[in-house]
């Protein structure tokens, strides 16, 4: 599991790759801290290389969204695969995130 963060045009883009499962969650929580600290900017979670997301991964996405909402900013979840999109539907989070 890797997370790379890039800044461009006053937005932060986090590129997730691999499996965001329970084993990867602790490292991922640390890796997304820069997003939480700059949550006043628009945040894009690019999931084009993300293969799987567990409940722990969903909690990480939720914490980013919560911080961004507190700062009046928004989070875009980009390029999720069909399986992960289905996870968003069956948990009811599809209406919470802006999914592109």
């Amino acid at each position: 599991m890797t997370i790379q963060i890039q800044e461009s045009d006053n937005r932060l883009i986090a590129f997730f790759a691999g499996r965001l499962d329970t084993a990867a969650a602790a490292a991922a929580t640390d890796a997304v801290k820069p997003l939480l600290e700059a949550a006043d900017k628009e945040i894009v979670l690019d999931c084009s290389e993300l293969e799987y997301i567990s409940s722990s991964g969903l909690r990480i996405f939720l914490s980013i969204r919560k911080e961004a909402a507190a700062h009046g900013s928004r989070v875009i979840v980009r390029s999720i695969n069909a399986d992960i999109r289905q996870v968003f539907v069956m948990t009811g989070f599809i209406s919470l995130f802006e999914i592109q």
Partner: protein, 348 residues
Amino acid sequence: MDLHAELILSDYREAVPVLERLKQEVLAKLHDALKRNGLFVTAVEARVKTENSLAGKLALKGAKYASLNDITDLVGARVVTYYTDDVDRVASMAEQIFDIDWGNSIDKRKLHQLDSFGYDSLHYICRMPGYDLRFELQLRTTLQHAWAAINHDIGYKSGIEVPREYMRRMNRLAGMLEMADDEFSRIRTELNDYRRRVGQLVANGKLDEVQLDGDTFRSYMQVKPLENLNKRIAAINQAEIQEVPLSAFLSVLKALNCMTLGDVSRLIKQYQEDAYRLARHQLGNTDIDIISSAIGLQNICIVCILSSGGGKIGLKRMFDAINGPAQHNAELAELTFNQASNLPFMRN
């Protein structure tokens, strides 16, 4: 400038640090009191009179002031409210936190003759405990503020007397804005009455008497009609429930012919069992232990759409409504349709 005015100016220069401190304390007290009273306003501002401005005032009417303490607007504060009713609420609040010099305070709103228009604010001359110097507090609405600022710009900035015709047009605007202020206040009052009425109808279960809209939907959701269903779904995997807004579903419910809260209540009752079955079917063989509070309503909408023959197109419309129109919503609709295809409600 005469010697008397020079002496007052000299005292002013010495007093500037005290004036700055007074300004900060006035601002802090106002902010604190507004917060405690739950009053939301457009702006709270304060300034210390500049030396140039004071010199101008002294040049015009310096003899009127025996000392610096007689000048009451060295510190000026202003609270700009949204509504005209709130001017009086803020005034009452100011009376609690400052000593008001009633002899010098003016409610300019009450000075107008029957046949004249003007657009003035409430001016209090106040004293803060611990300070000899008084300060001026202006209270006005946002529309009053806009009119006063433009009137000042037109009347003074140009440095020439404004012809009567333009004054008349400004006063016509003042009259119009006064009516607009009153109407804004009336709208707020009536909306609050409406919300209270809706709250009572919801609390008394008279749901058929309440039209479905954003306000009434929010009121209804406060009585948690979906709580049991969400808890049952959460129990499938011992999941935690994250509270999320449900407003995105309002347009979906309307598309499903829900015109009143009674219709929403019947929709929930009719489809909650199948909504639970759909969740169990989807979540039962996963280890997902977190769900959103939207899941119950979302599944009810899905079941309603599929039971009434809306098919994949109906599901795509729902996902378009809650997640924004997108091509990938067609894939979601397909996937959801296929998952539900073995459930009993699809065989009816």
